[in-house]
Amino acid sequence: MSLFTSNFKQEAAVLLIIMVSLLSAESVLRLNQDRLSLDLAHFNSLKTLPRRLASGTDQRILVFGNSLSREGIDVDLLRETLSQNEKTTSVEKAILDASSSPDWYFLLKNTVLGYGAKPNVLLIGITDLHVPDQIPVDSGRLAQVLTRSEDLPLLFEKLFLTLDQRADFLLSKASFLFAMRKRIRDRTLAAIVPGFRKNVNELNRTAYLKGQKSIRAQDYFFFEQLVKEASQSVPCTVFVPIPLPHPYSIPEKVRKIIQSHGGHLIKTETDVSYSLEQFEDGYHMNKGSSAAFTRRILPQLQKILSEGCNA
């Protein structure tokens, strides 16, 4: 029996419609990356980082981390204060929303250093939640923008351990549409479902707490890689624990990793409860508390810089 029956031709046409639609969506998305996500727009702007962190400047500080660092560290205040002691200072940000140590490691290695930027101070905002390898990562962002083909063995060895995770990563590498699916989902739902933006965090928290039960031992492989990479390429690396509404402390293992690679850890009293009013959305610091927090860390930062960053 021939396969090329009218049914076969019709199904081939159906498949063709699917393929053409998906390829069109892929092209449209690739051309409109910046409109899809502010995060991606910020990432794409990092191409100009070498120019912005001009090598003629005395202090070239790069604030690094996730949205907690963006909202928690007042960059203007930092620039203004550090420029007062007759040193030219440029302060820039390399921030990825909802990112953690695996993202930061590849961002530093492949993007910041890969583009040729030469910061002499790396200011990395951390919390106890964002340094272990176990925190869920956005495999789409890692695949499309943060990693290179040569990173694949490391990713498969340390981060994407199951077949499902690996397949997700490879599909994300192949297709921008697939890689950005969570962003598409969130933007669409935020646009059409009433109250979605406000309530999604609450809904996610239930899912997160459910997922938390399965997390046991914490590993810090990517955090250690980040610290190592920073210590080899940047003269001064400073870690800043960012306040959260609930008290927490930086794990001893993390402190040791920072210390063993010559990094600095600023003391920021995250082990005390902050008032919820200090947080804009219950998670990120508001403008007033961000300025107060930056003022509090500045003396320690200035001391580290004045001592030539010797640990």
Binding site: K182, L203, T206
Partner: protein
């Protein structure tokens, strides 16, 4: 190995490839081996339970076929039922019975501390146990003949597309398909693809997405939610469980179709039904017909007068509820449906076909039935009976449609709306495969929508199929 995992995709591709190269007998050997691998990926230790159930029912079936003495036949049947229900009782209900016994004793003033057994529930045990039991009972009733083909019978018990969550197939539907060479052809691929695609769409896009909202509404820390949010949570669960379970059944149907097998339709638009009787002819059809044939009728059915018929109905549904899980909330759910069916029998109603009644009346009846079903789902999903009363109280006496309720309504409309209209169209056509016979352009758009939704709307957190726990 979940149907919605890449591992299953690779596994299934390998099976289909090898299957296409083999003779009929070797195809059956391959399917049996693949079914064991499929089940073994959950917990290989429980394969022995399936093998034991298979061998016991195969041997008992052969003996029942030969035996003519009524008493010996009865003993053989009881032996098989005891082995099957014993395994089910041990693995699924022992801890429930132990804790209920302890509660009963302490309420009688005899406080005891009974040991809770550390037992894992084998995936799919409720499904394959009922399937093998139906085989033995049918032979006992001389409705079917016992098979002497152990390979075919083993495959009937453990056929991987329907092993862990049904449909609970009857031997006279599946065994002939196993024993005769299956037809190959493009039609199998075409229909299989349709079932798998719509099944994945229902499960992943609708079921798993609504699961997040449902989990939030029914979580203990959400006790301060508004009545509106609770109502949306119950609606969301009604659609979640339908999308999840009918999605699984569709994928099972589709994967079986790729291999040349026809599995039964387990769902026929249950939320478009008008009354409890129609609902149970459209919801989990393989279980409801099993309960009718192997529980309700043996209990006496409607042979001994109206009162006994109603008692049998309520008892059947309550046991059907307990089949879903070892908790009083499931029993209450079954009991509630038993009461609904009983009331429906007592109240004289029109049995006019849907197309012959007015639109207003039709939608009124559908809406009423949907809301009655939702009350049942509340019992089914709640973590305790006290949560049921708390939610009902909030919805009825303290109703407020706040932002969280609006989010729930928005999610339901966005994700369930298109499926609802699609099923309405299928229902009107009275043809569950109408899309397959539609113009290719229509099919192309429908498939593109489902594929795009599968890609662009991943669930907030991955969830196993709800019915695996039963």
């Amino acid at each position: 190995m979940l149907f919605n995992s890449y591992l299953f995709f690779v596994f299934f591709l390998a099976v289909v490839f090898l299957y296409s190269k083999l003779s009929h007998k070797n195809q059956n050997v391959l399917l049996l081996a693949a079914s064991n691998v499929f089940y073994g990926t959950w917990d290989w230790r429980f394969l022995s339970l399936i093998w034991a159930s298979t061998i016991v029912d195969f041997v008992v079936g052969r003996q029942l076929e030969k035996e003519s003495s009524i008493s010996k036949r009865r003993w053989l049947l009881m032996g098989s039922v005891l082995v099957n229900l014993g395994a089910l009782a041990l693995f699924k209900y022992s801890n429930f019975f132990i804790s209920e016994l302890a509660t009963l004793l302490s309420s009688l003033g005899i406080p005891v501390s009974l040991p809770i057994l550390n037992i894992t529930l084998p995936v799919g045990i409720s499904f394959y146990t009922f399937q093998t039991m139906s085989y033995t009972i049918d032979i006992y009733r001389r409705r079917v003949k016992a098979t002497d083909d152990l390979l075919a019978f083993s495959l009937y018990v453990s056929f991987f597309p329907q092993l862990v969550a049904g449909p609970i197939e009857r031997v006279d539907h599946i065994l002939p398909q196993i024993q005769k060479p299956r037809e190959k052809g493009f039609e199998n691929i075409r229909e299989g693809f349709y079932h798998v695609l719509i099944g994945l769409f229902k499960k992943v896009v609708i079921g798993d997405t609504l699961a997040g909202y449902v989990a939030y509404v029914f979580s203990p820390h959400a006790s301060e939610l508004s009545g509106g949010a609770y109502l949306m949570g119950v609606y969301a669960f009604a659609f979640q469980i339908y999308a999840d379970f009918s999605g699984y059944s569709s994928i099972a149907q589709g994967t079986a179709k790729f291999l040349g097998f026809d599995l039964m339709f387990n769902f026929r638009f249950p939320y478009l039904t008008r009354n409890p009787s129609e609902f149970w002819k459209a919801w989990h059809i393989s279980l409801s017909t099993w309960l009718r044939d192997y529980l309700y009728i043996p209990l006496g059915g409607n042979r001994d007068g109206r009162v006994r018929a109603l008692r049998n109905l309520i008892l059947t549904m309550a046991i059907g509820g307990l089949w879903h899980g070892a908790a009083w909330t499931f029993v209450a759910w079954g009991f509630f449906h038993g009461i609904l069916l009983s009331i429906y029998r007592l109240v004289p109603t029109s049995s006019e076909p849907q197309k012959n009644i007015s639109t207003v009346s039709l939608w009124g009846q559908r809406l009423l039935m949907f809301h009655l079903t939702c009350i049942g789902w509340l019992f089914f999903r709640a973590t305790s009976l006290s949560q049921v009363w708390e939610i009902l109280g909030r919805v009825i006496f303290d109703f407020d449609f706040d932002s969280m309720a609006a989010t729930g309504a928005g999610l339901i409309i966005f994700f369930v709306g298109p499926l609802f209209f699609y099923e309405l169209w299928l229902n009107r056509k009275e043809e569950p495969l109408a899309l397959l016979n539609s113009h290719w352009l229509v099919r192309g758009q429908a498939y593109t929508y489902m594929v795009a939704m599968l890609i662009c709307f991943p669930p907030f957190s991955s969830n196993e199929f709800i019915y695996f726990q039963f």
